[in-house]
Symmetry: C2
């Protein structure tokens, strides 16, 4: 028997591991044009290397080529807008240096996908398309599931070949901003501000800049105390303001390509303006003023809530906190402040409604924050492709105005908490790389199709075997719904093990201080968030508020986010609420099993190492999915003593 032909994957390159192509258009033989900028030259270099990897015999031809070619026409001052157009038998790319780089990656991708003349005329939807790293100075990563940091080691910023590999990955999917340190700024990370690590930071910044990626730093609001020796960080204190101005002056002068600061203030124990009786706007504006002379921006997180709630307190609703704090401040922020708003009102759960704050900022720049680090979505041990969720959020119509009031229209920037680390395959789970790639494409074009992105990613990663492509795309597209089915029911959230946020613990957060309760009794479960409950629904526009406030009209996948309901509540299809949850959990596990089986079918078509790594992850996913299924079902059965109508096994 002939050994099967298998395409080996260099997972250290992710989707930039260009595979040899049998047929390439003739124009791939020649590259014309002579970009002058550093980024333009990088575009040319990437094009050359990419085509060679695909098997083309490409020549650089100077300004004009003799025959069909790819012509790189660098135009200054056109920002990130890129045009790819057919030109005779060749292609021409027109744009600034960075735009050419985006164009080159677009061209390479589409050649890899088998398209001959991938015309494209595009500008990114947002000027800031960002990844936030929760990397600590000691090299650990908060909520990191892919090894250690490649930005920090032994308390200091760290530059290596991986920095360059990483920025290539970012630019290749259109990302252009990167905050390299954790929003919880501790220990040595504090000192990033005051130039202690200027040499290391500069090296990283220069490397990022070559591929158009700006550098951002998370800073501590109380830095004037921690670093400046002041006894206050009051944003209205002149000494504090001067300290920030002086500090920014030195910092921006020494670090090229530094774009601004990300700030987690008054949140989960972090210092902030509230400590001094100042508003969030006063805090943010003070920093914004300090970075303004250098064109800097402040990304101000809206994750402000009472994290020492008494569980006995049924009035306070954590979901309401962001709007309560920030909606009244609309218009009070300086123009270079962006409010960074998590996609949902709580914290990156597998199912939440869209944050109502995303509909309340008419005069303030805002950005949505997603999380591709799978903190609550399987920690890169479970496959969970998040793009469909992100699209739902971006497409969501806030309905305060009849038109142009979707999230994607309301925001000015977009970011995601990164899922990367120093693991060989970057993202722990090989399939989690699809979230990194896809987030980039969606950040460029929020109307991109998640399924098409999945398909592209699969081909770029594994080659173009149609069975592989179909199977991988199906696994990815099913994965979020499957994860949701076997884990937390109908938007109720949490029920995970406190602290590590992995695996089931239905009562884990129930008597704790985090404001996340289900208050289940043997009759009912959930928190009522309508006008008769906490009133959270009132933060939406009238039609949405009414829809969410009514159990009948509320989307069923969010039913237990918005309502407290009896177990025998009838769902639209006639099943009881409880039976629906039982069914979801039995089905979710079976569907996870089916995904794993589908992967196993690819054994002979995949690089054996990739195959085995993903198989290992599926083994853990199934173990954990079974635990979720049985714990949630048993817990609800013990509470209700209502058996499964289909007589499946629920343990005691």
């Amino acid at each position: 028997m002939q050994p099967k032909e298998v395409i080996f994957v260099d997972y250290s390159l992710l989707w930039l591991d260009w595979k040899p192509k049998r047929a390439l258009p003739a124009y791939t033989k020649r590259i014309a044009g002579m970009p002058a900028t550093r980024q333009g030259k990088a575009a040319q270099r990437e094009l050359m290397a990419g085509l060679k990897a695909m098997g083309a015999e490409t020549m650089l031809c100077g300004k004009v080529a003799d025959g069909p070619s790819i012509k790189l026409t660098e135009s200054l001052g056109s920002g990130e807008k890129i045009t790819l157009k057919r030109s005779g038998d060749g292609m021409e790319l027109i744009g600034s240096g960075i735009a050419l780089l985006y164009g080159v990656f677009h061209l390479l991708r589409h050649l890899a996908l088998g398209e001959d003349y991938p015309e494209w005329d595009s500008s990114p939807a947002y000027a800031i398309r960002m990844l936030d790293h929760w990397d600590n100075a000691d090299g650990s990563i908060e909520r990191g599931y892919s090894g250690r940091s490649f930005f920090f080691r032994d308390g200091k910023p760290f530059f290596s070949e991986r920095t360059r590999d990483y920025v290539r990955l970012l630019a290749s999917c259109g990302l252009n901003a990167c905050c390299i340190n954790n929003v919880n700024v501790h220990a040595n990370a504090l000192k990033l501000l005051t130039g202690s690590y200027q040499r290391e930071l500069k090296r990283i910044a220069v490397c990022l800049g070559e591929y158009g990626v700006s550098l951002w730093l998370s800073v501590s609001f109380s830095s004037p105390i921690e670093l400046g020796g002041l006894e206050t960080a009051d944003p209205l204190d002149p000494r504090v303001r001067q300290w920030w101005k002086d500090t920014c002056g030195k910092l921006f002068a020494s670090i090229p390509n530094l774009a601004g600061f990300l700030v987690k203030a008054d949140s989960e124990g972090r210092p902030g303006p509230h400590s001094y009786g100042r508003t969030q706007a006063e805090g943010a504006n003070m920093l914004a003023e300090a970075v303004s002379p250098f064109g800097g921006k402040i990304l101000w997180r809206c994750f402000v809530y009472n994290c020492t709630q008494d569980w006995r307190d049924t009035k306070t609703d954590r979901a309401s906190a962001q709007c309560d704090h920030f909606a009244p401040l609309d218009g009070q922020f300086r123009g270079n402040v962006y409010l960074q708003i998590k996609n949902g009102p709580v914290d990156f759960q597998i199912r939440e409604p869209v944050s109502p704050l995303l509909g309340h900022l008419e005069h303030t720049a805002s950005m949505v924050e997603f999380q591709i680090a799978q903190e609550y979505t399987g920690q890169q041990k479970h496959v969970c492709y998040l793009l469909p969720m992100f699209r739902e959020v971006l497409d969501f119509h806030m309905e305060h105005k009849p038109e142009h009031d979707t999230v994607k229209e309301n925001i000015s920037a977009v970011c995601a908490v990164s899922n990367t680390g120093d693991d060989y395959n970057w993202t722990g789970h090989d399939l989690a790389a699809a979230n990194l790639f896809g987030f980039g494409l969606l950040a460029w074009d929020p109307s991109a199709d998640p399924e098409e992105i999945a398909r592209e990613w699969s081909i770029l990663t594994f080659g173009d075997d149609p069975v592989v492509t179909r199977t991988v795309t199906d696994i990815l597209m099913n994965s979020r719904r499957v994860y949701e089915k076997y884990t937390v029911p109908l938007g109720i959230g949490w029920m995970c093990v406190p602290g590590n946020h992995y695996g089931p613990s239905p009562d884990g957060y129930e008597y704790d201080r985090w404001g996340t309760y289900h208050r289940a009794t043997h009759k009912e479960i959930g928190v009522e968030r309508g006008p008769d409950g906490t009133g959270y629904t009132e933060q939406y526009s009238p039609r949405l508020a009414a829809m969410y406030a009514s159990a009948e009209n509320c989307p069923e996948e969010l039913l237990l986010f918005f309502h407290r309901l009896p177990y025998d509540y009838r769902m639209k299809d006639g099943r009881t609420l409880l039976q629906r949850i039982y069914d979801d959990h039995f089905e979710g596990y079976e569907e996870a099993q089916a995904m794993s089986d589908a992967w196993n079918e690819l054994r002979d078509k995949l690089d054996p190492e990739v195959y085995a790594r993903v198989q290992d992850r599926f083994r853990e996913q199934l173990r954990c999915a079974k635990e979720w299924r049985d714990v949630i079902n048993t817990w609800l059965y013990r509470l209700s003593l209502i058996p499964d109508e289909k007589g499946r096994k629920i343990y005691m």
Copy 2:
């Protein structure tokens, strides 16, 4: 107004802070006798120093005194037996050096208590009266609530003045053995065996020896692999046996006063003979043979159970494990092996039945293991005087034989996990020192009265104000029952936060691997351990088995340890089970409040620092007691939806 006269307490001396006495018998002016041994000299020194601290003007008079005296008559070869008898107008102490030391402390204590001629003729009930330290080489203490280790620092054994202070405390209450390192032997602690820290260990050993306290070490069963470079630790392998013999030869030669090893094998991930298909007896005997030439002993822990149980498995009962593993091996252990058995079948809960294994060893030496480190009993933030519990255990009649079958008669030794650390006051909570003192007195004489011990400890510590003595004694005597009332109901155990074991989490261990489940539904709670359940009750003698197996006859405080019962089960007094639990929790909190109030009444009678420290602890106890009360009540109310009959506040 006159300032109140307050007795200052040097808590760094605990009960050895002898207070000035107005009247002392005339014989305290002279000490006669010339002890020759190191321990005898220590006795003389302690006597001199103690009398001086009490205000006596004492002289050393050589062999014979001219006038009433305390005569120290050293008799070699009489072991620990001590006689104090009146001799004319003086007292004579007769015994070996160490016995004289015990006698001196007895005399000093009773003089401090106001007794003029405290005659005593006594031998300790057990030859080994031991404290086990769970101190790690890095200086941390597993389940330590009083600061860091004073035996280890920076990965090495550590000698300081505190070593001497500590051994004085031990000897003063009759303790004579001390295992200085954690039964979970990790990192540098492994190397204690092979002489790396010989100098440091020897220094500690010599210091302990002067006060008659033998040194013990916890060792890892797989040391031949970890230290010896062998690929096995199979106890029947000749190389393994030889390695242990060689290692012990060197170790015992270099460390005077080393008495033997404590071993946690095949327990919670620790290595042991089961890994090699050998029995616990084969493992223990191999070590016993190795230490035998040096008069050494092996203390072999019986804490062997399946700690990776599937919660779905309702057949396995962790409570049965110790008897299952060890009862069949009775008679197979060498004479210098002691089986170390926790007082209950599970793990130091506030209420457990007595371990049935304590009735099954006719031909094997055994020792009971208590825990004065308050792991599950309030972590030295809550006052919880444990002596009444220890007396219950020691007095418990196993009833396999009509007579002489109480625990205290069945065991040959006794130990407790120590509650000490490098905190100034030794035990974190000032009142927790009563457990250290009391354990020593009870280990000497298991029929000592816990209330009398509490009274003595109070007077020795705080002076003899009768109001203080009454209040402190009452607080101590009530404390265990109060703690039990507001925490875990009726012997069911656990319900604490996993990992740290502090504070309530009713479902915390429910879906975990530790074999500790309540399996509560909205109708019933508990695990049935009678013959129709797991059969655990059958490990007791017939009358006890029948008593425990019947819900009506089972002691009510253990009802939910032994039985699965509906919430409306009727208790003997007519209340429902649920109402009893509600009542206990409301009352428990109120009683904790009353204890705190009683302490507050002592404000003007106590050293202000001691008063404030204990008041701080009561504040935390009340905070936590309220949390326990409300979480347990709410959790049961949510499950049952049965309201409190008395209409007290149960939160939703």
